[in-house]
Structure formats: C-alpha cells, structure tokens
C-alpha cells in the first residue's frame, strides 16, 4: 500500500516539472537537474509495481535509445522487468536488452533463464520470440545455450519456430564463428525443410555462414525451385541469388553454340568494344581457335541439351518477374541474364523497364544494371528506347545513367533519333548532365562511323557555347575524335587553337595543347604562336597544362626548331624551377632528349620517333563494360568493386557435373509430415486448391479438437501450432468464433506463462547470485524473505483462503496479505530451485532411474477392455466421451473399494477406459495401404516404469502383405528414450495388429520422431503426447492431498476461474472430463463442491494435484499444483478446455 502510493507521489513530483526533451509523451516527462537524478526517477518507476509506470519509464528509455543517448546505467533496473506481464513493457525491455546486453554481459545473464523457459513454452509464437531475443543477445558466454536452443528449435514441430531458428544461425555465427561446423549441421537439417516459411530464412543463413558449401543444395535444389513462388518476397531474393550461383556450377552454358555462331556472323565488326558472347576467357580462346577451323566447328560441337533442372529453375522464376517487389524482379532478371539461353533473356526487359517508374533510388540501381546488360545484349532493350528518354525533372544521377543506356543502345538505325534527343539535352540547365551528354555524343561518334562527321560538327558548334564547362567538355571529346582522322580536320584544330585565349578549364587547355602539338604539321603557322602565348602564362598554369606546354614545346622543337628553339629553352628553364617535381623531371628528361649536346645519349636520335609516333585513337568505352563479371544486382556490381562477403559468380563448367546428385528419393517428399503432401504440388499451381485441401484437413483436426481435448486434454507444441494455423487460415471457412476462441485461449495461456515466468525468474536469479538480488530487491520483499522460515506452518493455514484469491496478482496488491503470500513464494522458490536443478539433470543427462512405482492393478485388468475398444478403427471425431462403459466403471469402483469417497457412484476415478483417443501415425494413403494409429493406453509400461505406454495399431488395407515392420532412426530430444516394439514379421493384407511401445518423454511434450520401416519403405513419423498423458494416477488421502498441496504453493500453483459448460455442471461430469483430459486418479473429498485429483509425472515422479471447486451458476475454480510449472501450465489449459467445452 504504502509503496505504491509512494510511487505515485514520486510520479506526481516528477510531472510537475516537465522537461520537454524527455517528455515525448505529454503525460510523462520530468525534469531533473542532472542526468544521474533523472535516471533515478526512471529507476524508481521501473521498480514500481504498476505496469503503467513501468511502461512509461520504458517508453522514455526507448526514446533515449532512439536518439542515441546512453541509457546503459539503467540496465539493472530494466533487466528486472524482463518477465513483466505487460506485453508492451516486455517488448520494450527486449529492445533495451538486445541493445545493451553486449555492454553489460554479466547482468544480461540474469535474463537468460526467462528466455530458456520461453523456449519450452507450448505456444509456438512464444517459443519463437524467446529464441529470437535470446539469440539477439550478444553475450559470448551463452553461446552453448544458444547453440542448444537453435538445435532444438530446428527440430521443432512449428515451422515458425524453425524459421526463427534459421534466423538465429547467422546471429550465433557472427558471435562465435567457431560454431560453424555445428551450425552447418543445423543448416543442412533446415535446408531439408519443406515449408515455405523456413526456406527463405535458411537460405539466408546458408549464404551468411557457409555459402561455399554448395553441395548442401543438391538434394534441396528441386524443392527450392518448386517452393520459390510461395516463399515471402525477401526470401525469394536470397534464394534466387543463391540458385544463380548454384546453376553456374552445375549446368552447361546454354549459349555455347549461339555465341559461336554469332562471332562468326561478323556483326561485331562495327562495335569493336561490344563483346557479344557470354563466355569466360577460357572458352573464348577455345572458341576462337575453333573459329579458325572454319564453320565446321559448329557442326563438330555436340548439340546442347538443357538440363531439365536448369529448365525448372528458369521456368519457376519467370512468374516472379511480376512481383511488386523491385528486389525480386531484379533478382530474377539477373538470374535470366546469367543463366538463360540468349533467346529467352529478352523477357526480363519489360519488367526492368517497369521498375523505372519506381522511386528514384530504385531507378538508380536498375539503370546501373540495365547499363551493364545493354552492352552485352543491346537488342533486348531496343524496343524500350523511349523509356530511357530523359525528363528535365529527373535527378542528375538518373539522367547520366539513362544517357549511358541510350548510348549503349545507339546503332545505325536509331542514332538519328538519339542524336536529336541529345540535342535537346545539351541545352539543359544542368551542366553536369550537359557534360555527360557531350561525352555520350563522342562515344556514339566513335562507335558509329556514319555519324562521326555529324557529331564532330555538332561538337564544334558547341565550342562557341557560352558555358565554359560545355566548351571544355567538347574540346576533350573532339580531341579524342580527331585522333581518329586528323588529316581532314585542320580547320577544327585551328579553331580550337583560338580557344586557348578564352578557355580556362585546365583539362580543356591541356587537350588543345596536346592536339596542336600532335598535329603541329597540320597547323605549322599557328602552333609556334600558341607556344609563345603559353610560355608567357606558363607560371600561372595548372600542372596538367604545364606538362602539355612542355610536350608542345618539345614536339615543336623537333619539327620546327628554327622558330621555337628559344621558346623551348625558355619553357624548359621555367619548368626546371617549378614547384612540382613531375614537371621538373619532365623538363630535365626532355632537355636531355631533344637538345643536342655532346653528352646526349643514344636516345636523342630517336627523339622524333618517341615524340611523334602515331598514337592509336582512344577507344571510348562505357564504364559499364565488363561489369558483368560481378553478379548483376549485387552491391559489388553497383560499386564495381568487390564488397565484403561477395560470392564470385563461378564460370560455367566445361562439362556438366553429375546431375543425379539432385535426385531425391521420392518417398522422402511424400512422407512429409501431415497434410503437406498436397501442398507442394498444388500450392505452386493455384494456392486456392491448396487451401481447399488443407482446409479439409484442418476441418478434420478441428472437429477432433473438442473431443480430443475432452478425452485427453491436449497440448504440446504441435497441437497448439496446428490450432493456430487453423485459426489463421480457417476463418475463411466462415468459422469466426472458432478463430477467436483459440486466440483467447492463447492469450490466457500467455498471461499464465508470463506470471509464471515472473515467479520463476526470481527463483533463478536468487540461485545465481543471492547477494545481487538482495541489493536490488525492494524492501518489503527482503523482509518477507527473512520471515520465510516460519511461513511453512502459516502456509498450510493459508492455503485455503489463498485458493480463492488470485495469487498471481497478490504480490501487487501491496497490502498485508501480499507480504505473506510473497513469503510463501520465497519458500516455494527454494523448492523450485531444487526442482529446476532436478529438471536440468533430467534433461541434460539420462534421467536417473527411480525405484519403480507400484503398478496399478486396476489398469492391468482393464487391458482387455481397452483393447476391445480400440478395435473400433476410427472413432468418429465428434463423439464426446460419453463414458457409457458400465463394465469398466463398475470394475473401477470395485477395485477402488477402499476409497473413502462419500460419493460412491462416482464412476471414473481412474481411467476413462471407454474412449481412448487414437491418433493417426501414418495415413493409409501415405503409407501405401498401411495405416498406423496410436493411442496412449494409460497402462504402466512394464519394462520401464518411466515410460509412457503407447499402443500402436497397424492396419494393412493394402492388397499385399507388409513384411518386417520395425522402427529405425529414432530422433529424440536429449534425455528422451524409446523402447521399440518387437519387429512384426508379416502383416497379411486386411489384417490388424497391435503392439505396445514405451517412450520416456522426459516430462515434456516434445515429439518423438522415428522412422517406421516396412520391407520396402520408410516413413517418417512422430508421436507427440498431450500433457495429460505424461502422468500416472496415484492414490492419496484427503489429508495427504492437502498437505502436498500446501507444499506446492506459490509459483507451483496455478489457479483459473472458469464457467462450467452446461452439460458438465454435475460433479460426475467434472470428474469424467478431468480424468479424460489427464491420467489422474480421484482423491476422496469431504465436500461435494470440490473434486480433487492426483497423479505424478511418469518420468520424474513430480506430483500433480488438481482440484476443481464448483460454485453457483456453473462458476468454478480450477487449481493445479505441480512442481513442474510447464506441465502445470499446460495441464491447466487442457483441463480448462475440457471443462468449458
């Protein structure tokens, strides 16, 4: 009481003085003189027991993090709230934790146990989120924990959890690269996964961890191709990029023959720079050699036949060109560019052009790639020429890229239109763009001989442009063009010589000087004059200009030494004392070379040859030429430099590697777990049909559900997973309520587990370092800790009132009661401490063999009955356990004989033998006529009392007999054991046979996976127990029950209020339903308002106590006490469901 009000005061105080900076929310805020104090305020809010205050504090902290402010000193205060019940607080704590865990490794460890517990949660979404956060915490100490968690999650029943596991792999890898080998194993396992949800994520992990292990892909190649269209967008991108690389290593170049034909075609002659073949150097050489051997080479070559797998890839990626996601379209485009036969590459052009309407950043990247492609495959984009026309509103970088593409696309037929466009561009205000246009014109002129003169004239006209940059750029381009045919253009050179007076741009000046020097023979009169002028301004010129002046001087000296001797001397003298050593060097070198002295070396006679040699004309190349040795669409391609982690696109192999590595045994595909058989094929075609098929399946399951939960009490990861998906997709079938029903169930469950986490969290913390905890714990709690000694007695007294109260909240009530209840919790913490230790032992190593408990004779007797019932091959799912089996109930009562029940009529204290729910292990169709069902027979398994007996029934409905039925290759969670059934040698057609096997589930609802083998086939199957089957009934008196219950208080106790369904308001019905849901026995009880049940878990023998107190109008309260909290939580859920449906 006092505590909470104090916090309120605190808050009031803080909000009086609002500081805008931290008050992102008007209701929050608080000014404090110093940082230190401000955080104090946050700490107090975090310590408070009001969720709203905590939330407020967390919001402010997250706002700080977002702004890049340091909030690391709040770590201890924040981490305490990791198990907070409020979801938003919890999420924000996760955000904080992931951000600062790396800095505060020790403290971060405190939170780990919460996530570890989350990993075991029956709800797949909670398991996934726990794994996600756990793996995001970058603390090296927990690497083994992470590894374990990932391994476990990788074989989780829920694809969503497996997806999360795939995501966690690169996280762990970046944290500790030494785990690589283990991680590769996990990746290998996940690659074999057949769900679309996992595919993208695992390939991403593959790419980050072991992109070189291309061999892992073989077996999954076809599956990935087929799944591709249903994978989410981001996964598609990753998969396609990876498959491109894969295909390059496994298939032959589809363009082998074509490129050869083309080279022979001689089309190339026009565009020297364009290299039209796709082949690597080696093949290139090879092909050139072949070309020499004339056209016969074509005949010699083996006709190319495309590998069907290669075709599969191309076919399955093509529809993705229609994706709305630019990255996907680009990925497909690059795949086609790198892998498709030339004739087919064209299809990507349209899609790429479409992307040009997107955001400018997308345009930028697409244009870069189009530029590269358009060099190799000009024809592809020619029809879309107009789409690359430039608009005045385009950003400059886009304009320049479009220009590049236009230039690449230019050929004799379209050059006139392109040049007309260029003319418009030259008038643009954007001078960078104009400069680029001039360059582009120059390139067109060099590439296309017909327009060279036109271009040159146009460029010369630009020399009179007012803008200096334009002129300068033109000069540079003209210089290059003139080099091709200087003889005809002495007038242009003269014109340019005049420009030296006006042009200041160094590059342009240098170009003019070089031109004059190079062709001084064409302009014999002007050249010396230019040198004279330059000599005057020499000292003020830029370095490149100076170098060209020296060059000019040297060349003139060699051709026209009479007029220029003195000028040359002068220039060389000036250069000798220049600041730049390059210029000094050059001057010294040239002086030695050209000026004849006594000592001049042998080289001087060759001076003329050196300086006035014919220089080849420069080839104006696209900067995008040959960029395609980088995989298109990649960062490396964009930057034209290898980026970190870039995987080189391999060259085509000379000969195709063995294609059979991709062969997959068909059965593997077919025996995918329940219901997915149809999906693979159908989903790709029309998702609708899939939905139909899956809907049907789900319907079945759905129909099962009420029955299922009634009779057995369901749970376990699979079941919840399935019901989730069902509610997700099934509302299509119009079953709205069912969807919402299961949702609310989830939220229930979640809040429970949250509270549980809260409590156990404390326990674990304490175990780890008591001192720290003590320091951090709020005062009232530590008080109660001290008093916990005496509480043992108290607790018993209190147990009754407490059942009625909602103890999970009592902590927060802040009144006197809470104190005591807390102390109880403390006490039970200690218990749980041992408990968790025990649990760890059991899960880590083999469970310690415990003295076998006494077997229940009653059950043995019932065996025949059970068998009898079981012959009913498929109990109709909607049947709700009516328990009409008089015989069995009377038997039970007989055997119960000594019981003190005041209600003798209560028929089913032990086992609802009537209807044991059978589950399908192998469907008749999948099993090719062999169908297998299993049920939990609820009998002790005699060879090992720690095992749950599972009765398996084989029905051979095929026409031929099945031979040597046995089990193989069991895959179990650590600690789990299995006792195989003896091999069945022959099962004749039409016969049915039952066997019993034992599984030690280690008190968890994890599935036991194994292969069921016949003499011909193997089927992957799994058995997963509902939580209610993990226990066996024990007999207890009322007093014992009360005593035990008193010891299992606090966090081992879970209470739920519920409203009993109409049909189940009688005591009789309650007993029936509870015992159907869980394998418990009834405990006699004095009050007819209360039903009690007791049992113990099969493996560890932990007590499970259940009591149901009924009140008026069907209201009731369910209390479950169990040392194993996870079991307790799940059991509550199941029983609740059994009672309310």
């Amino acid at each position: 009481m006092s505590a909470s009000s104090a916090f309120n005061d605190e808050k009031g105080g803080s909000s009086n003085v609002g500081e805008p900076e931290y008050g992102h929310d008007p209701a929050s805020g608080g000014i404090f003189s110093s940082d230190y104090k401000r955080h104090d305020d946050l700490k107090e809010m975090l310590d408070s027991n009001k969720d709203s205050l905590k939330l407020e504090a967390m919001k402010r902290i997250v706002a700080m993090i977002a702004r890049g402010k340091n909030a690391s000193d709040l770590f201890p205060a924040v981490v305490k709230n990791v198990a907070c019940k409020n979801i938003e607080v919890k999420k924000l704590v996760y955000v904080y934790l992931v951000r600062y865990a790396e800095e505060q490794q020790d403290l971060a460890l405190l939170s780990i146990s919460t996530f570890q517990r989350g990993l075991k949660d029956p709800n797949q979404l909670i398991r996934a989120s726990a794994l996600r956060v756990l793996s995001s915490i970058r603390v090296t100490i927990i690497v083994p924990i992470m590894m374990l968690a990932i391994k476990e999650a990788a074989s989780d029943m829920s694809p969503y959890v497996r997806k999360t596991a795939a995501h966690a792999i690169p996280k762990l890898y970046s944290l500790d690269p030494e785990q690589k080998d283990c991680l590769i194993e996990v990746i290998e396992k996940l690659l074999a996964d057949k769900t679309t949800l996992v595919a993208g994520s695992v390939v991403m992990a593959f790419e980050e961890v072991c992109p070189e292990r291309i061999d892992l892909i073989h077996k999954n190649y076809r599956k990935l191709c087929n799944l591709l269209i249903d994978v989410e967008e981001w996964g598609q991108v990753v998969i396609i990029n990876m498959l491109t690389r894969y295909a390059r290593t496994q298939f032959l170049n589809p363009n082998m023959n074509e490129s050869l034909l083309e080279e022979g075609g001689g089309e190339k002659a026009f565009y020297g720079s364009d290299n039209d073949d796709d082949t690597d150097d080696e093949e290139d050489k090879e092909e050139k050699e072949k070309k020499k051997t004339e056209a016969t080479a074509i005949v010699k070559r083996k006709p190319y036949v495309m590998d069907p797998d290669h075709r599969l890839l191309l076919r399955n990626t093509k529809p993705l060109l229609q994706s709305r996601n630019a990255a996907v379209v680009m990925a497909v485009a690059q795949l086609y560019f790198h892998l498709a036969p030339k004739a087919e590459v064209g299809v990507i052009a349209k899609a790429l052009v479409r992307l040009m309407r997107s955001h400018s950043e997308v345009q930028y990247v697409v244009l870069q790639n189009v530029a590269t492609m358009s060099i190799k495959r000009r024809g592809m984009f020619e029809p879309y020429l107009k789409s690359f026309y430039i608009r005045s509103t385009d950003p400059t970088q886009i304009k320049v890229l479009k220009l590049e593409v236009l230039t690449n696309l230019a050929n004799e037929t379209n050059i006139s239109t392109i040049l007309r466009e260029f003319q418009t561009y030259i008038k643009s205000n954007d001078k960078d763009f104009v400069a680029a246009t001039i360059q582009a014109i120059g390139r067109c002129a060099t590439n296309i001989g017909e327009v060279r003169d036109t271009c040159l004239n146009g460029l010369v006209q630009l020399l009179s442009n007012r803008d200096e940059l334009v002129v300068a750029e033109s000069v540079v381009v003209i210089k290059k063009l003139l080099q091709m045919q200087p003889e005809q253009h002495s007038d242009i050179i003269k014109h340019m010589a005049k420009l030296t007076d006006n042009i200041q741009v160094p590059m342009a000046r240098a170009s003019i000087l070089w031109l004059i020097g190079e062709y001084c023979e064409h302009v014999p009169k002007i050249a010396p004059d230019v040198l004279r002028k330059m000599a005057k301004t020499f000292t003020n010129e830029e370095d490149i200009v100076k170098l060209q002046i020296i060059n000019l001087a040297a060349k003139l000296y060699l051709t026209n030494s009479k007029q220029t001797k003195l000028l040359t001397q002068y220039v060389l003298n000036l250069a000798k004392y220049d600041q730049n050593y390059d210029i000094r060097d050059r001057a010294r070198f040239i002086r030695q070379l050209i000026v004849p002295t006594d000592k001049s070396g042998a080289l001087s006679k060759y001076a003329k040859k050196l300086f006035l040699a014919l220089k080849p004309a420069p080839v104006l190349e696209s900067p995008f030429k040959d960029r395609d040795h980088f995989q298109l669409g990649s960062l490396s391609h964009l930057l034209n430099a290898k980026a970190g982690g870039y995987q080189v696109l391999p060259d085509w192999p000379e000969a195709a590697p063995d294609p059979s590595v991709r062969n997959v045994e068909i059965e593997e595909v077919i025996t995918s777990s329940e219901g997915r058989i149809g999906l693979l094929g159908d989903r790709r075609e029309v998702p609708e049909w899939t939905k139909c098929s899956s809907r049907e399946k789900r319907k079945e399951k759905k129909a099962d559900k009420p029955f299922y939960s009634d009779s057995e009490g369901e749970s376990g990861p699979t079941e919840s997973a399935d019901s989730d998906t069902a509610s997700g997709s099934e509302s299509g079938g119009g079953s709205e309520e069912s969807g919402s029903g299961s949702e609310s169930e989830e939220s229930n469950e979640e809040s429970e587990s949250a509270s549980e986490e809260d409590e156990e969290e404390e326990g674990k913390k304490k175990k780890k370092n008591v001192e720290k905890i003590k320091a951090r714990k709020p005062v009232p709690e530590s008080e109660s800790e001290q008093s916990s000694g005496e509480d043992e007695k108290k607790s018993e007294k209190k147990s009754k009132p407490r059942i009625g109260s909602t103890e999970s909240e009592s902590e927060e009530n802040g009144d006197s009661e809470s104190e005591s209840s807390e102390s109880e919790e403390e006490e039970s913490e200690e218990e749980s401490e041992e408990e968790t230790k025990k649990k760890k032992k059991t899960t880590a190593s083999k469970p310690p063999s415990k003295p076998p408990k006494k077997e229940n004779k009653k059950e043995k007797k019932e065996m025949s009955l059970l068998d009898f019932d079981d012959f009913d091959p498929a109990p109709s799912p909607s049947q709700v356990t009516p328990l009409n089996n008089f015989l069995s109930s009377s038997l039970v009562t007989d055997l119960e004989g000594l019981s003190l029940t005041d209600n003798v009529l209560s028929p089913t204290t032990i086992v609802p033998s009537g209807n044991l729910k059978t589950y399908e292990l192998l469907h008749r169709i999948t099993g090719e006529g062999l169908s297998v069902e299993y049920c939990f027979s609820r009998q002790p398994f005699s060879p090992d009392p720690h095992m749950v007996a599972v009765k398996i029934q084989f029905i051979n409905s095929a026409t031929s007999e099945a031979k040597s039925l046995h089990m193989e290759d069991t895959k179990l969670q650590s600690g789990m054991r299995i006792k195989e059934f003896p091999e069945i040698e022959v099962l004749p057609a039409g016969e049915t046979l039952s066997v019993v096997m034992g599984i030690d589930f280690c008190d968890s609802t994890q599935a036991a996976n194994f292969q069921l083998c016949t003499h011909t086939r193997k089927f992957f199957v799994s058995i997963q127990p509902p939580v209610g089957e993990l226990m066996m009934p024990i007999f207890m008196t009322e007093n014992e029950f009360k005593k035990e219950q008193g010891q299992l208080m606090g966090m081992n106790e879970i209470t739920e209020k519920l409203t009993l369904e109409e049909k189940c308001q009688g005591e009789h019905a309650v007993v029936q339903r509870v015992t159907a849901a869980a394998n418990l026995s009834r405990v006699p009880c004095g009050s007819d308002k209360e039903c009690r049940f007791a049992g113990k878990t099969v493996t560890s023998g932990s007590l499970v106590l259940v009591s149901v107190v009924t009140k008026e109008d069907g209201a009731a309260q369910l209390t479950v006490n169990c040392e194993k909290m996870v079991i307790g939580t799940m059991l509550v859920k199941d029983i609740l469901q059994a009672l309310t449906q």
Partner: protein
C-alpha cells in the same frame, strides 16, 4: 544484412537510430553528410555510398533520409525496397511520414522496426501482420492509453504470420461489407517543341479498399484484358489463374492495398488529352522576355479535364514575371525560379491562357534553354486506355458485399518541351 538505420532530416541531424546487430557509431553518417554536401540537389545524393568499413544505402522520402548501414554484400535493391516499405508503413500508421510524426511516435516506430527486421533480415513487412502486432495510434487510443496505461501492442499473438495467407489478418469483421476498386491510369509523355509526341505511355494501377468479413475469395475480370501488357501483382494474386484465364483471383488483405499495376501495351496509340500552345522568347540584349501559354483539351473522350496545374522551371536569368492568367492563379518564386499556375478546370469554350512578360537580369546573356513545362491534370470517370472491369465475384463467404469501381486518368510525368 541491414546493420543499422539512421534517420536524417533535411538539416542534417540524426534524429533516430536503430541497430539490429552490434552498435555502429553514428559517426559513420559523416560519409553520408559529405556526399550530401557534394550533391547539388537533395535527390542527387547517391543511394549507395561506400565507406571504409560499411556501405551506406539511403532513400529520400518526405525530406527525410533513411540511411541503412550495411557491412557486406547484399543486393542494393533489397535494402532500398525494404526502406521504402518502412516509409510506407510509417505513412500507413501515422498518416504522414514526417520528422515530427516519427518523433511523436518514437516508441511505436521502434516497435515497428523491431518487428520488421530480425538480425537485419526482413521478418514481418505485411501491414496486416504488423497491425495485429502493433496497433496504429489513433487519437482515441492515445488518450485512452495515457489514462489507463494500456498499450499499443496487440494482446494476441498474430497468427497471420503462420497462415497460408500471411497478408490477411485473421478474424476480420465488418457490419458493412464493401470492396472498392480504383482504376487509376497515369499518362507519361514528352511532347516536343512542335507539339508532336516523342514518347507517350500509359501506366495504370488498381488500388483497392476491401473491408470484407471473414476470408473472402475474390475474382475480378476485365472486358479487355489484352490491353494489359506488363503487370505486377500484389502477392495475393494467383499468378497461374492470370496466366491461364486473364482473371485476377485473390484473397485480399484487409484494408487498403495495391492490387495490380500495369502497363498498357505500346502498340496502342496513346491519346494525348491536352495540348499546349506556347510562345516563350528571350531576346538577345533585352532585359524582357515574352511568355505566352495556352492550354486546350485534345482527346478527352468527352470528359472534362480537371485539376490542371502547370509548372515550369524558368531559366536562372529570369528575375521576375508579370503574367496574366485568364483563369486560376499563378505564382512565381524568384528564388527557385519555379513558376506554377493552378488552372483548375479547362473550359473548351474559353481556353485558359497565361500571358505576359518576364524581366531578366540586366546585361545577362540570353538563356540558351527554354523551360520545360510540366502539366498535371485529372480526368474523372474514365481510364484513358479504355480498360474496363467486367465483373467482381466473391466466393467463400455468404453475405453480399457492396462493390464499387471508379476510373480515373491522371497526368504522370507529362512534359512539354519548348
């Protein structure tokens, strides 16, 4: 993949940062600021900037730079597309995506970013799923939350992520079941000086607003599907069905989404709905320029041309303008030299025109380029290409939905060179 994200406003402040892997110091943004300084215009900042240890990939939306930090090879479009998706999500959540909106909702923004990426790899980007995870803030909810301390975070775990239809949230319920489709076509054109069309093409989208209970399965068919040359679909559309029958068959997401965008095949001649008569001249040596512009409807299929807006970037030499519009209002910004004329509706009887003079800097030389004129307009109730929806059917649910289809033509990038 994506290491960190920085949000930078137009004045160069980092106002939000988020890290998915270990923290990258915000000093990495200095390279970005350098590039920003080098670029003359904001949109000229290169989208990909290499730095010694990282690569910066940025997008500019609503005058905010979204700068993603990358450490190793990743397809750049992957990041760019994702960043745009982030912006779209913010816009979806807050109505606008401004610095103020982001700062006001920083916690929601953070929660969203946390869900959208896991270790830098996109996790949940479908708006329907995100909205299940984190409810968008509304005024009412903000008030309620402040008082009660309840949260924006969805109470239930989103099951949509697990389903076969990941784009649709579960348990959708409406009292009025309605589905609206807007067929919006944009015409992109470049008209040259003489009025002839250099390039013109029609791009269209079908935006949908579907508020239907349960899990409806819709099919939409066209009268003339052959018109559609190149299409891109929302992931909900069944591709095979389209391939085989040219029918759009899909289970729609809840709410607003873009069903389809298409390109009308270039074989069809594009009717240009408006024409421009222009006479813009600068005389050498004079400080005056003549400006005259007349707009008229051309091929409008009998529909009125509305919401016409003309804008033009005048040459730098222009100091001011003195123009008279016959209708609408015009503005000229002497700093940016941007002329814009809000014409409104074109009346075919009395064509709107804008006439007058421009004053040029004294002594300045004649600008060598005539300005380009950008035109925006709308034509209601018709799709320029003639695309028509034939029918819309719903399966899988029992009720009868209200259906509506609207057509509109807009100018896209419509430029007239002068």
């Amino acid at each position: 993949m994506i290491h960190s994200l920085f949000l930078v406003n137009s004045s160069g402040d980092i106002f939000l940062e988020k890290h998915w892997k270990s923290v990258v110091s915000r000093s990495v943004c200095d390279y970005f600021f350098e590039a920003q300084e080098r670029a003359s215009e904001p949109e000229n900042v290169p989208p990909v900037i290499p730095t010694p240890h990282h690569y910066l990939i940025s997008v500019l939306r609503h005058r905010i730079y979204f700068v993603a930090v990358i450490q190793s090879e990743v397809p750049p479009l992957f990041v760019i597309e994702f960043l745009h998706r982030v912006v779209d999500t913010f816009q979806d959540y807050f109505g606008v995506c401004t610095e103020a909106a982001i700062k006001d909702n920083v916690v929601v923004v953070y929660e969203l970013l946390e869900e959208m990426l896991d270790n830098g790899f996109p996790l949940a980007t479908e708006s329907n799923i995100l909205k299940e995870l984190i409810k968008p803030p509304t005024i009412l909810r903000t008030v309620v939350n402040t008082i009660t301390g309840s949260t924006n975070v969805g109470e239930q775990l989103p099951t949509g992520q697990l389903s076969v239809v990941p784009w649709r949230r579960t348990g959708v319920k409406y009292t009025n079941n309605e589905a609206y489709f807007d067929v919006v076509e944009e015409i992109d054109a470049i008209i040259d000086k003489s009025g002839s069309t250099i390039t013109a093409e029609i791009q269209g989208v079908i935006d949908a607003c579907v508020k239907l209970t349960g899990m409806p399965d819709l099919t939409l068919s066209f009268m003339n599907p052959r018109l559609l040359d190149d299409v891109s679909f929302h992931p909900c559309v069944r591709f095979k069905r389209w391939e085989a029958e040219r029918i759009l068959s899909f289970i729609p997401p809840d709410g607003n989404f873009r069903l389809l965008s298409y390109h009308v095949s270039s074989q069809n001649l594009v009717a240009i709905p408006v024409y421009v008569k222009h006479n813009i001249t600068f005389r050498e040596g004079s400080s005056q320029g003549h400006f005259e512009l007349t707009l008229g409807p051309k091929q409008t299929m009998g529909k009125g041309v509305e919401a016409v807006l003309v804008s033009s970037q005048l040459p730098r030499g222009v100091l001011n303008t003195n123009l008279n519009p016959t209708q609408g209002t015009y503005t000229f910004d002497p700093v940016t030299k941007l002329l814009s004329w809000d014409v409104g509706k074109i009346n075919p009887q009395k064509l709107p025109s804008l006439k007058g003079s421009m004053s040029l800097q004294a002594g300045a030389t004649k600008p060598d380029e005539n300005p380009t004129i950008n035109i925006q307009f709308k034509i209601q109730q018709s799709a320029l290409s003639g695309l028509k929806v034939n029918r819309l059917d719903m399966y899988g649910e029992k009720y009868k939905p209200f259906k509506g289809i609207k057509y509109m033509t807009k100018a896209g990038k419509f430029q007239v060179r002068t």
